[in-house]
Amino acid sequence: MDEFLQSLVRGLGTGSIYSLLALGFVIIYKSTQVISFAQPAFMLAGAVLVSYLAPQVSFFGAVIVAALVIAVLALGVERTVLRPMVGKPVFVVAIITIGVDVVVRVVTNAFIGLEVRQVGDPWGLTTVSFLGAEVQQRYLVMIGTTAVVTAALFLFFRYSRIGLAMRAVAYDQEVALAQGISVGSVFALSWALAGGLAALAGVFVATGAGVDQQLWIVALKALPAIILGGLESLGGAVVGGLAVGVVESLFGTYQGDFAPWLGPNFGLVAPYALMLLVLLVRPYGLFGKREVERL
């Protein structure tokens, strides 16, 4: 039982990271119809920035500053690199985001070097007792923070004029323009939001283990999460991220006992297997829009 609870909390914790990343993907996709592959780089850059700032302005100060800086960086990238591509095929734009990812990551790597940098978080690997099981404190923090961030995003999209404008642009850009909504600002803002979320996710990944050049690979787990949840759905991104985290963690714990024939480390593959299963039943994802095409 303890083992199960521990796996569950670990799964929800890492799942929260995937959720934050997936939210960024979905926010950009909804407003621009492009999947931005630059998210891994922003995640890495956020974590590295915190590792440099934390000694100066404390860990929490550093997280806030880094999220804002990466948001501004992402906004700048959108303005300069992607804005000229508006109206071009989304495939081309998606490839450009891969280029952005490479550039940002190479520059960031120069600040990492070959060592593992620490972000200076106060949790480390310390555990607390949670319903009788010893679980790592940092996972609880991740779950809590993600819950707060998700709630804030939900309120923002539901009740603020800018959130409403972003939803309008996602639905129909031309009509949104006719309401006086600047579609360009919406694009920029969605990149900024996604950048901030990625930075936060990066910091969480780096707690406990630190930042090295391979950290960005974690961000790829957000892909099965968004496919699972449906590209169009913010709620789906959160659920998809958590599901990927939990499946990965439970497989890691139990698969060796119950299905050893699947081979070691099957947990790493499990999210993708889950994604394929869901796609068989619901090709548009759990919460995605069913595409209706008239021929």
């Binding site: 804030a152 004029r161 404008a165 031309e174 323009l177 006719a178 309401q179 006086g180 909504i181 803002l189």
Partner: protein, 259 residues
């Protein structure tokens, strides 16, 4: 003084001339109608006015300011609002949300205050929410407030679209076929609302419409278009009597009925 003056507009897509030599003025609280057969260039004129198309020649002045070259959202924020020929609402959003989108430019707060729930953001939202409520009263949309507009009857959706345009507190309203596809009763309702807009709100309007009865009853002046060119501009009575207009659009039959 004219609210809008359009002078010598020419709009061509490669070799195809959509609009040519179009000039007109719209005065304060005037209801100006544009009629003509399908493909005469009426909606193209709307798209020029709202900045979707950029004409090769001519000028458009709105309250003394040149509009050509401005992006559509800038033009909208200067007080030009429009409805579309085929309803273009955000059909998954509620009536209230659609109208709140019309208020977008009446609120100024930025993304950061939206997240931090600063007082200003809340005050503005509340103030604009009550402005939306006025529009809902005006168009008698009370019972539909909370419905996603995609679920509403056609006639009501047309009214919601008018409402969204009114929520912008426009200085000029462009109505693209406001009664297209409506039955007699719905048409009469819409005509009443359009008259209310003119009389109670004093907003000048340009209306593109095929329903001759409606145009002749409501409009102060009418411009008749054919093949992208204006063939006559005048009061409804003048236009109806013009032989060119009858030939191009109303048909010979009309003359015998009218006389």
């Amino acid at each position: 003084m004219a609210v809008l003056s359009v002078d010598g507009i020419r709009l061509a897509f490669d070799g195809v001339v959509a609009v040519d030599g179009v000039s007109f003025e719209v005065g304060e609280s005037e209801l100006f109608a544009i009629i003509g057969p399908n493909g005469a260039g009426k909606t193209s004129i709307f798209n020029v006015l709202s900045g979707v198309y950029r004409p090769q020649q001519g000028s458009v002045e709105f309250n003394g300011e040149n509009l050509l070259g401005l992006r559509p959202h800038r033009i909208a924020s200067r007080g030009m609002s429009r409805t579309f020929q085929n309803i273009e609402l955000f059909s998954h959003l509620t009536v209230v949300d659609n109208l709140m989108l019309g208020r977008h430019n009446h609120m100024k707060y930025g993304a950061l205050s939206a997240f931090l729930l600063l007082g200003r953001a809340r005050d503005e939202e509340l103030k604009n929410r009550s402005a939306v409520e006025d529009v809902i009263d005006f168009l008698e949309l009370e019972q539909w407030r909370r419905f996603p507009v995609g679920l509403l009857p056609y006639g009501v959706q047309k009214r919601v679209e008018l409402g969204r345009a009114l929520a912008m507190e426009p200085r000029l309203l462009l109505l693209d076929e406001p009664v297209a596809g409506m039955n007699v009763e719905e048409t009469e309702d819409m005509a009443r609302y359009i008259l209310d807009v003119r009389e109670e709100l004093g907003i000048p309007m340009i209306m593109v419409e095929h329903d001759m009865g409606l145009v002749m009853d409501l409009a102060d002046r009418v411009m008749v278009m054919d093949f992208g060119r204006p063939i006559r501009t005048g009061t409804p009575a003048e236009v109806q009597a013009d032989p060119d207009v009858i030939r191009a659009y109303l048909g010979e039959q009309h003359r015998s009925v009218a006389s």
